[in-house]
């Protein structure tokens, strides 16, 4: 080694590159990279754009132009119609009925399912008892059972309980089907908390509920928010359970939207349809844009929902 450096002439050492390596701002590979990313982004954004512009056009303009053209005559009439007077079958009360039904289903559904699953997860993480892991494994496998397999048994169960086609019934169904993923979420979160905290609390004489309510709850806000995001979007977006279990007077927004748009009779009002679709998507989109990283964490942690 030392021999080689000795033979190198002094001059060539000092004449070489010196200082920070120059950077090319717009290397071809960088341009390629961003081009691909932007083209992909356009593919994802265009449908949203089409929806918005369509919902702001009048029907004549829709028939004349193309779907990508921005609205010439901006009108909010389709939005008002969609909300207040769009027709499903014989009723023309707009999608607001479905909106409020979805609120009535989602709010208790989210609260009940999270309350039950968080306590379940806590019991599984810290208070294992004989068989608890077996029940949990069954619960996890349950997440993969196609809903169609369980639809009819649940219909019978809810009929027996006298809550078929009621809000209580649909809330119970959402609690059941939300349980595997939420329990997994909470169990993993609580299991990752330092076990010494739990031991210290036990030495201090705190029991099951005291530790949960006084020690664990206050330090678990993030995971409750993740569960909230997961459940709000999940329950709001549900279609199948709403159709089967809610009963027609409680149909959630997704069901009503489908009934409005895919109604057989009448002339299709594309602008009203798109406004109604946007209104239905607005709640989960709002949750998504507000929650940002936590949403990603929710689907990565509890991706079982599919």
């Amino acid at each position: 080694m030392s021999d080689i450096t000795m033979t190198l002439p002094e001059r060539s050492l000092s004449a070489g590159p010196r200082g920070a390596k120059p950077r090319r701002r717009f290397a071809p590979s960088t341009i390629m990279l961003y081009s691909v990313l932007i083209i992909a982004a356009l593919y994802y954004l265009l449908p949203l754009y089409v929806m918005v512009v369509t919902s702001l056009k009048g029907m004549p303009e829709i028939r004349m132009g193309n779907i990508f053209a921005p609205p010439v005559d901006i009108t909010f009439e389709p939005w008002i119609t969609a909300w207040d007077s769009a027709c499903t079958g014989l009723y023309c009360e707009g999608i607001k009925v479905g909106f409020w039904n979805s609120v009535k289903i989602t709010v208790p559904g989210v609260i009940v399912s999270i309350a039950i699953a968080s306590v379940n997860g806590y019991a599984l993480a810290n208070w294992r008892f004989k068989g608890s892991e077996i029940f949990f494994t069954i619960l996890l496998f349950g997440a993969f059972i196609p809903y169609q397999v369980l639809l009819y048994p649940l219909v019978i169960l809810l009929r027996e309980l006298g809550i078929f086609s009621t809000l209580t019934g649909i809330v119970l169904v959402h609690t059941i089907f939300g349980m595997p993923i939420l329990t997994l979420l909470f169990r993993n979160y609580f299991a990752a908390l330092p076990v010494e905290l739990f031991k210290a609390a036990r030495v201090d004489g705190a029991g099951f509920w005291q530790i949960f309510l006084q020690i664990y709850l206050p330090m678990s806000l993030p995971i409750f928010v993740v569960g909230l995001i997961l459940q709000v979007t999940g329950i709001w977006n549900d279609f199948l359970f709403g159709v089967v279990f809610a009963g027609s007077q409680n149909y959630p927004m997704t069901v009503q939207l489908n009934n409005i748009v895919n109604a057989v009779q009448g002339v299709k009002q594309y602008n009203v349809n798109m406004a109604a679709t946007l209104l239905t998507g607005a709640v989960p989109l709002f949750v998504y844009f507000v929650s940002g990283r936590l949403f990603v964490r929710g689907i990565a942690a509890g991706a079982v929902k599919g």
Binding site: Y44, T54, F135, Y152, L240, L257
Partner: protein, 296 residues
């Protein structure tokens, strides 16, 4: 002095057991009980209401004799394989690009993922409108002079599945991308440093080092996406209602229609049992893989 009597074992941890009761009831009562009920009654000739008149495998025989079921299975297989291949390839490519320390990463991620927050009903209706033969993209193509370029995917029995795949990809590729990106971020940075020092080109590093290391992420993603595919229902209802004709029927819709609209419960139950078996064929190898990985 007497030792504290050991509490009877059923009542030890009583609070924990009471708290876990909803889980136990759901696991046993709904998941196990409901599945057994469905399997048992799939062997009966139940029509509008469950009956206990057992007829052996005749519901299954009828099921596989019904063209609509065969079409449903075929459709699901085509939709599923296309969706899996494209969402994985595109999802991984996007994730690999996102992993190049790019600017505005979170903006790009937000854009790629937002469709996943939407209901399949919403997705289906958006794409139904975009692909509307009269006024949507096909019209635009015609107006631009591409007469031969027939994009009326939805009206054509041969192409309607591609329309479903397009919408399904729009909704789920971002999700695959996020999981893949999480997998890439989970890989030790020193692997990259070592590859760089050894002079291995980036694409080779991805193909021969990173991808094999992400085996677990791939398999988990596969299972999640695949079990979602088996459930495919809302998207079809919103976008095509199974048409034209039976061209875009899927098993989940078959079950629903026979159970709740055609008063042929036994047939619906048999079809749902077949779905269950399909899912478990996907699931069992995965479960085995996971349990093998867990062992040292």
């Amino acid at each position: 002095m007497a030792a504290a009597t050991r509490p009877f074992s059923l009542f030890r941890n009583a609070s924990a057991k009471i708290a876990a009761l909803p889980m136990i009831l759901t696991a046993l009562g709904v998941f196990v009980g409901g599945t057994i009920w469905t399997i048992v009654y799939s062997f009966t000739d139940s029509r509008l209401l469950p009956s206990t008149n057992f007829v052996g495998f005749s519901q299954y025989a009828r099921l596989f004799d019904t063209p609509r079921w065969s079409v449903s299975i075929y459709n699901l297989a085509v939709y599923g394989s296309l969706l899996l291949v494209f969402s994985f390839v595109v999802g991984f490519l996007l994730a690999a690009l996102m992993d190049q320390k790019i600017r505005f990463e979170s903006t790009f991620r937000t854009i790629y993922l937002y469709p996943f927050a939407l209901s399949f009903i919403v997705t289906g209706l958006i794409w139904q409108w975009i692909l509307d033969p009269g006024l949507g993209l096909p019209k635009l193509m015609r107006d631009l002079g591409f007469e031969q370029f027939d994009l009326a995917l939805l009206g054509n029995p041969d192409t309607v599945l591609f329309a479903l795949v397009m919408a399904g990809l729009w909704q789920s590729t971002g999700f695959v991308m996020v999981l893949m990106l999480a997998g890439l971020r989970g890989i030790d940075n020193e692997i990259w440093k070592a590859a760089r020092v050894d002079g291995i080109p980036a694409w080779k590093t991805y193909l021969f080092i990173i991808v094999p290391m992400m085996k677990g992420v791939f398999i988990t993603t596969l299972v999640i996406v695949a079990s979602g595919i088996v459930r495919l229902y809302d998207l079809v209802v919103a976008m095509t209602q199974g048409g034209p004709g039976f061209a875009s029927e899927v098993p989940a819709k078959y079950v629903y229609d026979f159970m709740f609209q055609r008063a042929n419960l036994g047939q619906g139950l048999a079809a749902s049992t077949v779905m269950l078996v399909t899912v478990f064929i996907i699931l069992v190898p995965w479960a085995l893989f996971v349990f093998r990985e867990k062992k040292p």
